[in-house]
């Protein structure tokens, strides 16, 4: 029904009134001659109805034949509207210009939506796309889109696949991140020796596989063979197998922590500057007229996009806030430095002892002061497992 009404509106129609002794005659004449009449309502000697604008002459003719008078009550539809405004050439020019402008602007990209996966910031991608020449307000070209897709894949190693889908004037960027590093093919880990990771004195030996080459109380150096996977028999044959076990040794370790006597503290002042601009269909219009301040200013940028019915519009308000700061050299007291360095040392011990096979046997802490910094030196004696697997490469000949 809507379509019928719409078509009637497009072609135009009018409402008329028939006055006379026999309006029924007019109806019959009209029906026999194929005139379409609708919404008729009749009282005695009066009939109101609607008909197409193109049938107006016939209506007059049949009304005359049936000895009735016709009165046009109202005209409806597009032709009627056009006839009202036919003298206003500017209106039609505006319509045509509007259509041309609409067609022209629809060739541009006005919004870019980035669907980035976890771990990739959409702001970074937007900036990378901008550097490659793909931003709001550029003219759409499939060739250009392909180039950008290709370039960004090469430029950003985090991206394994990127696709730019164009929907009208909207560009939707779909990104797929690269998976983790591909593991190298595993080595043959069946045969290997155990080597020392630090200098020290052996306190405990627990060998499950292989032949131990050291004894309790022996001094060892870093990289020394501790457990061998090869066994030589008296008949001259050699068996090569894996080695496994733990060898504990007393090792010493020295940690030196430094802290400068002075440091630069950044203090923000109340001086600040705000710059705003509107980006409208790719054109930047500054609202605040001032230059960028120099020295000791840092800026934050806030970009807000206009949204209408969950659809981003090509209107962006950019606000730059410039905050002034002073660099104040600050001296650190000896007590404060000692406290801070001890806290750092405690943290170090927590990480040092987080593996179960390490025990601190003794420690000696000394705190000194140099010309420029404070120094905290800690000497540790630790009992730890010093074994490290070293795989043997066997080449067949």
């Amino acid at each position: 029904m809507f379509l019928v009404k719409f078509l009637r509106w497009i072609y135009g129609y009018f409402e008329f009134c028939i006055n006379g002794r026999f309006p029924e005659r007019f109806l019959n004449l009209a029906a026999r001659n194929g005139l379409v009449i609708w919404d008729s309502s009749g009282t005695k000697e009066t009939l109101r109805a609607k008909a197409r604008s193109s049938d107006k002459n016939n209506i007059y003719l049949f009304a005359q034949k049936s000895e009735n008078n016709v009165t046009i009550i109202k005209n409806y539809g597009l032709p009627y509207l056009c006839s009202i405004y036919k003298n206003r050439a500017g209106l039609f020019c505006g319509m045509i210009l509007g259509c041309i402008l609409c067609c022209y602007l629809s060739g541009y990209i006005w919004t870019i939506k980035i669907n980035s996966p976890k771990g990739i910031n959409s702001y970074e991608i937007r900036e990378e796309l901008r550097q490659l020449g793909f931003y709001e307000g550029i003219r759409f070209s499939q060739k250009e889109v392909n180039r950008v897709e290709h370039s960004i894949k090469i430029q950003d190693k985090r991206i394994s696949w990127l696709n730019i889908n164009i929907f009208g004037t909207n560009a939707v960027v779909e990104i797929s991140a690269t998976s983790g590093k591909v593991k190298m093919a595993e080595e043959n880990k069946n045969i290997g020796n155990l080597k020392s990771t630090a200098d020290g004195t052996i306190t405990k030996i627990n060998v499950r596989k292989g032949n131990s080459t050291v004894h309790v109380g022996d001094g060892i150096t870093k990289g020394q063979l501790l457990v061998s996977g090869t066994t030589e028999y008296s008949d001259g044959t050699t068996l090569i197998s894996d080695s496994d076990g733990e060898i504990y040794a007393k090792t010493s370790r020295t940690v030196v922590l430094h802290m400068n006597k002075t440091y630069d503290r950044i203090k923000f002042t109340e001086n600040s500057l705000s710059k705003k601009e509107i980006n409208f269909f790719g054109i930047s219009i500054p609202i605040t007229f001032c230059g960028n301040p120099e020295n000791n200013y840092c800026k934050t940028v806030i970009r807000q996009r206009a949204v209408f019915l969950q659809q981003e519009l090509p209107i962006t308000v950019t606000e730059e806030k410039w905050l002034h700061y002073n660099i104040i050299p600050t001296n650190i007291s000896k007590e404060f430095a000692k406290q801070q360095l001890q806290k750092r040392l405690q943290l170090y011990e927590v990480f040092l002892l987080c593996s179960n096979d390490k025990t601190i046997l003794a420690k000696n802490i000394s705190f000194d002061e140099n010309k420029n910094d404070y120094v905290l030196t800690a000497n540790y004696i630790i009992e730890e497992n010093v074994c490290e697997k070293s795989y043997v490469r066997i080449k067949e000949s």
Partner: protein
């Protein structure tokens, strides 16, 4: 005349005599096929010529929604249908 008693709200009657079809939707609308002309057209009564007899629709607020050479749609509150031979 056939009556479909299952339709309580929308009763439908069909008459088929000498290429005349009449579909009545309850008492609100009549689709008439085989009409040869309108004899009388007022707010309370519409009389149609079928060639062999006249059919009069009586009621309130009756009007012709649309019509062409042989078909006519009458809308309104129909209280009676009369056949005038």
């Amino acid at each position: 005349m056939k009556t479909e008693s299952s339709h309580k709200l929308k009763e439908k009657y069909t008459i088929n005599t000498h290429n005349i079809n009449m579909i009545i939707n309850f008492n609100r609308e009549v689709i008439f096929e085989g009409c040869k002309g309108v004899v009388e057209y007022t707010d309370n009564s519409i009389k149609l010529n079928t060639g062999k007899f006249l059919v009069a629709f009586n009621g309130r607020g009756l009007h012709i929604q649309c019509m062409n050479e042989s078909n006519i749609v009458i809308v309104g509150f129909i209280t009676s249908i009369e056949y005038i031979m």
